[in-house]
């Protein structure tokens, strides 16, 4: 049996039905533990207690990008192999990605406030996330605007492909536009500087927690979409008959 059997809606529902409680539990535990542990870490000698924001900002930012990549892969699977669940999974993932981007943006802006003295700074990283957010919003808007599900899946798939190229392009354009005057303290954690164990392990745990949270939400939302589609399909069939 190939992995494609899970692309069958009924099979997907059966499999996730058993998997979901475990996933939800694991996500809840890891998320809570990671974030609480992060909140309890000692202050950084340079950044003071603001270092605690890392445990939200970094996992959210990581997921914001990863979810777009996942949507790109799901869209490609839909376009190439025509697996309907794949298209619905891409649709289900978008709002999660948008919220993750929003968290990354909000925590980034709040974190920067004491450093930069302003609530918003056109820092290349923050700007890139703002652009990514715009792409998420456009993607979600297109899904909701097109009534026919087959057309909507195809059109959003094409948009996701083109959007991926332009999101990447914008990232480099933004670097060119504002060469990161704020690479200092606020971003040291991400830029490969050696991080003390005190911060590293709770961060890993929070990352795992956010990833599991995404998976759990993705499965639930995909199941929602499948049920909605099934209802619409049954109604369409009755109308035709």
């Amino acid at each position: 049996m190939s992995i494609w059997k899970y692309a069958n809606p009924a099979q997907f529902m059966r499999t996730t039905d058993g998997l979901l409680p475990w996933l939800v539990g694991a996500a809840a535990i890891c998320c809570t533990a990671g974030v609480v542990w992060g909140f309890l870490t000692p202050d950084d000698f340079r950044q003071g207690s603001t270092v605690k924001i890392v445990f939200l900002h970094v996992p959210a930012a990581m997921m914001a990008i990863n979810i777009w990549v996942m949507m790109l892969i799901a869209s490609l699977i839909w376009i190439i192999r025509r697996h309907h669940v794949s298209a619905l999974a891409a649709k289900a993932a978008a709002p999660i990605g948008a919220v993750m981007t929003l968290i990354a943006l909000a925590t980034g802006a709040i974190w920067g406030q004491p450093m930069w003295g302003t609530w918003w700074e056109w820092d290349p990283r923050l700007t890139s996330f703002l652009i990514l957010f715009l792409f998420y919003v456009g993607y979600i808007a297109l899904w909701s605007a097109v009534e026919d599900p087959d057309s909507a899946a195809d059109l959003t798939g094409v948009l996701c492909l083109v959007g991926s190229v332009f999101a990447l392009l914008s990232r480099y354009a933004v670097l060119f536009w504002n060469q990161g005057l704020h690479q200092g303290a606020s971003l040291s954690v991400q830029s490969g500087e050696r991080m003390s164990h005190v911060y590293r392990y709770p961060l890993y745990l929070a990352m795992l927690g956010f990833f599991l949270l995404f998976l759990a939400l993705l499965l639930i939302r995909t199941r929602t979409e499948i049920r909605r589609r099934r209802l619409a399909a049954l109604q369409a069939r009755e109308m035709r008959a």
């Binding site: 057309s151 094409v158 083109v162 354009a173 060119f176």
Partner: protein, 218 residues
């Protein structure tokens, strides 16, 4: 292909075609900005490159929702899709017609609006060059957005939402060329980037737009 281009140009210039609306919009924008930020040369000159580029972007958006929608409504799009022309070619030609009726007038009129916004004289050639290199990409990306939203009843707002993020790289490099031109710096790097983006867009986007059109036609 020539026939399609000529028809689109003729339709744009006939009554109700909306030729010149983009330039008029651009003029109004350039006239309004000083009312908002004040008439000082010192405040206007630094923001002029950005205003002019954002203005060009918005003027380009104005007529986009009609690019395929009119042909979709009256059935021409079905007929064009069955014509010997590949749909990719149709998209490219219609984007070219959009550029000639919207982008080209903007390029030619831009120095005038540069004067209104106190753009330094030495930046004028760079403004024209950057717009000439960048606006074809705007039209082609707009055609992609128009192809995505062609079947929708209220596609106009969605079109802006989808297309404007795609304009970001073009805007960044285009405005940067003009800004560097105004400050007398070297403009080669952003100009090359801008040209690269435009060429890439012109080469690849017709396929994406044609794919979207095919989906909307069935």
């Amino acid at each position: 292909m020539i026939a399609l281009l000529l028809r689109d140009l003729r339709l744009a210039t006939r009554a109700g075609g909306g030729f010149g609306l983009g330039v008029a919009f651009f003029l109004i924008l350039s006239a309004l900005v000083p009312f908002g930020v004040g008439p000082d040369r010192a405040t206007l000159a630094p923001v002029a490159p950005g205003i002019l580029w954002v203005g060009a972007l918005l003027a380009c958006l104005l007529s986009l929702d009609r690019l395929f929608a009119l042909d979709h409504e009256d059935g021409s799009l079905d007929l064009l899709a069955t014509a010997p022309l590949p749909l990719e070619g149709t998209v490219a030609i219609k984007a070219l017609a959009h550029w000639i009726t919207t982008g080209l007038p903007l390029v030619l009129a831009a120095p005038l609006f540069g004067v209104l916004l106190q753009l330094p004289g030495q930046a004028m050639p760079w403004l024209v060059v950057s717009l000439a290199v960048g606006t074809p990409a705007l039209s082609m990306l707009g055609a992609f957005g128009a192809a995505l939203t062609v079947g929708l009843r209220r596609g106009g707002l969605l079109l802006s939402l989808l297309v404007l993020p795609l304009y970001i790289p073009t805007l960044i490099f285009g405005a940067e060329i003009t800004r560097r031109g105004a400050e007398g710096q070297a403009t080669a790097t952003p100009l090359l980037f801008l040209a690269g983006i435009t060429l890439g867009v012109l080469a690849l986007i017709p396929w994406a737009a044609a794919a979207a059109l095919r989906v909307n036609l069935r």
